[in-house]
């Protein structure tokens, strides 16, 4: 058995264990994305990084424990790094929450984004399909595809459109995808714009968002 200190709490784990085992045993948790116990220990997503006593950041899922190891799971540095990594992951993530099987709040990425305050995932990710028809399919100008998630989508759950009270996502690919959806469901962009003005009227990127939506919406038409 090896003695490990997780957030200064002593815990004993078997030899050959990894930090993540000790952390869980000590009653703490670290977020993981690419780690599946017994299947993957790739350590490629880096979201599970923890700080060691010597100040190094190491992935909890693939770093073996050693006697007297000190692990801190939630220091400011760890959180900051996790946030940036999350931003990077999202930067390369194809955000098509509309058709994602993890739609309806079952998205780990969304949970992390919410916890670490990273924008990028739209309200659609939280909007459950169960028993509800997508409002876009009904032809309503829902702002779900372009609004930052994190509210739990109370409005769409109740069958009213999302009006974007959490602010817009300014990422181009998300907007392009949204414009595609609006076009697919034949929702006039003017109505969407009108809804956007409710809460985003002074948003510094409003013009940019307009332009991207318009461009994609009209660009597809010519083809």
């Amino acid at each position: 058995m090896v003695k490990v200190y997780v957030n200064d709490k002593e815990v004993e784990v078997g030899e050959g264990s990894y930090i993540i085992d000790a952390v869980i045993k000590a009653g703490y948790s670290v977020p993981t994305l690419c780690f599946f116990k017994g299947i993957y220990r790739e350590a490629s997503c880096r979201i599970c990084i923890v700080e060691l006593g010597n100040g190094r950041l190491v992935p909890a899922c693939a770093y073996p424990v050693s006697e007297g190891l000190r692990v801190y799971t939630n220091t400011e540095r760890v959180r900051r790094n996790r946030r940036v990594i999350l931003e990077l992951i999202l930067a390369s993530h194809k955000i098509k929450c509309q058709s994602c099987p993890r739609k309806g709040g079952f998205c780990q990425l969304l949970d992390l984004a919410r916890e670490y305050g990273v924008e990028g995932i739209p309200v659609c990710a939280e909007c459950p399909l169960h028993g509800n028809e997508c409002l876009l399919v009904r032809g309503e100008p829902c702002l779900g595809p372009i609004t930052i998630a994190g509210c739990g989508s109370p409005c769409t759950r109740e069958g009213t459109i999302c009006i974007g009270c959490r602010g817009p996502i300014t990422r181009r690919d998300v907007l392009v995808e949204a414009a595609r959806l609006y076009k697919e469901h034949k929702i006039p962009l003017e109505e969407v714009f009108s809804k956007m003005k409710l809460f985003w009227n002074n948003h510094p990127s409003l013009d940019k968002i307009y332009n991207i939506l318009l461009e994609t919406y009209n660009g597809g038409e010519k083809k």
Partner: protein
């Protein structure tokens, strides 16, 4: 004493407000100064689509967003000529009522009651009288749960749109609401027992005129008429003929007169008007009704309303739960004018819109209860001032009574200051 100016920033109200009482050579003047920043919601609404107006209107105030939302949507429904089935109206009213109950709980426990226990703050009261306040917390929580079940979320309802509800509330939901309300009813009874026995400062209402929206049946329903204590009854759309508005330079809020007279709105008015309809609560009503010409008595009326609305909503929901409801009607956009009148927690609330043929709001006017009460508060304060002049009241005590007086009206300043000077 020739000159005295009491300027009191009132705490424990929603928003920022100053009451200035000046006593000069025997004459008394009071100014109800709303110093809350202007919010200009009417200007925001103008030019918007009809379905967006209620969304904006509900953001006027987080405390009574449902009232604003429903008043706004009713005004638009009236403008568009939407005929609503009874089921919708029933649920709509329940939504409003339960918020009135919840709002009254907040006002009573967290704003008004500390005064009566000589506590400056809520936390002081909490340390001194934890059992009482815990009841308040619990009751508030229960009411909020029902609000959430009916309105989708605690603030800014999202279950209702022009023409009806988006979704039928499931049987589970309704049953749960009924269960919660049953629990709340017990607590509310305790509260009413307690509050009706409170000793109030003495003050005679200087202008006992009130306005209240007409409820054809029951209590606190949404009607098309406005009633006054003088017995006059007029259509809501005709309100400009009866209620005159006036801009004052010292306040960010407008002031209103009814036929040139100072009037008040709120729980006191509602209990006076509809008290006899409260079945099962006759004892409470008769115990407080003689006190109701005292503005301070507003808190007793509010306490009574908590119980009354909870019972009412519970009964209505219980009745609804096994029925097949019709909760949606279709509507078409057309031009028109509509006024929505309902009883918000603080009293009569009027939303007035004009809609053009493309479905845009071209004119919006919102009259909030606090703004209507402003003059009445001034007059009550002046009565209090006269007492000081006459030496009946110590100046130090007067300060306390002044803030208690204002709090009894429960003014909500964010609601009041959206008002914009027209022309």
């Amino acid at each position: 004493m020739s000159y005295l100016e009491l300027s009191e920033r009132i705490d424990k109200v929603f928003g920022h407000l100053e009451l200035r009482l000046s006593l000069r050579n025997g004459s008394v003047d009071a100014k109800f100064r709303v110093v809350h920043d202007m919010r200009l919601i009417e200007a925001v609404i103008e030019g918007r689509k009809v379905d967006e107006a209620p969304i904006i209107a509900s953001r006027i105030c987080g405390a009574c967003s449902i009232a604003h939302f429903l008043a706004s949507i009713t005004a638009i429904e009236n403008a568009l000529g939407v005929e609503l089935p009874d089921d919708i109206i029933l649920l709509k009213e329940s939504m409003n009522k339960i918020q009135v109950a919840q709002n009254n709980v907040v006002h009573l426990f967290f704003l008004a009651l500390p005064d009566y226990y000589n506590a400056r703050t809520l936390s002081e009261l909490l340390s001194r009288n934890p059992d009482l306040i815990k009841v308040g917390f619990k009751l508030n929580n229960l009411c909020l749960q029902v609000v959430e079940l009916l309105a989708g979320r605690i603030v800014n309802p999202n279950t209702y749109r022009i023409g009806g509800f988006t979704k039928k509330p499931s049987k589970d939901k309704v049953e749960k609401a009924v269960r919660i309300l049953g629990e709340a009813e017990k607590l509310a009874r305790e509260v009413v027992d307690h509050v009706t026995r409170l000793e109030l400062p003495e003050l005679v209402d200087p202008s006992p005129v009130y306005l209240v929206s007409e409820s054809p049946i029951g209590y606190l329903s949404i009607g098309d008429y406005i009633l006054s204590s003088t017995g006059e009854k007029f259509r809501a759309v005709d309100y400009p003929k009866y209620i005159s508005e006036e801009v004052v330079d010292y306040s960010n809020s407008k002031v209103y007169r009814y036929n040139g007279r100072v009037f008040y709105v709120g729980s006191r008015a509602r209990v006076l008007e509809y008290g006899e309809r409260l079945v099962g609560l006759e004892d409470y009503v008769s115990s407080i009704v003689k006190e109701l010409n005292n503005p301070y008595a507003n808190i007793k009326a509010k306490a009574l309303e908590i119980l009354a609305t909870i019972m009412d909503v519970k009964e209505k929901l219980d009745e609804l739960k096994d029925r097949d409801l019709r909760l949606r009607t279709e509507y078409t956009i057309r031009s028109g004018e509509g006024v929505g009148v309902l009883e918000a927690p603080r009293g009569l609330l009027i939303h007035h819109y004009r809609v053009d043929s493309e479905g845009r709001v071209v004119y919006a006017n919102i009259i909030t209860p606090t703004a209507m009460n402003a003059l009445h508060i001034e007059h009550s304060a002046m009565t209090l001032g006269k007492k000081i002049v006459e030496g009946e009241l110590d100046v130090v005590e007067a300060k306390k009574y002044l803030s208690m007086l204002v709090r009894a009206y429960d003014p909500c300043l964010p609601c009041a200051v959206h008002v914009v000077v027209k022309q």
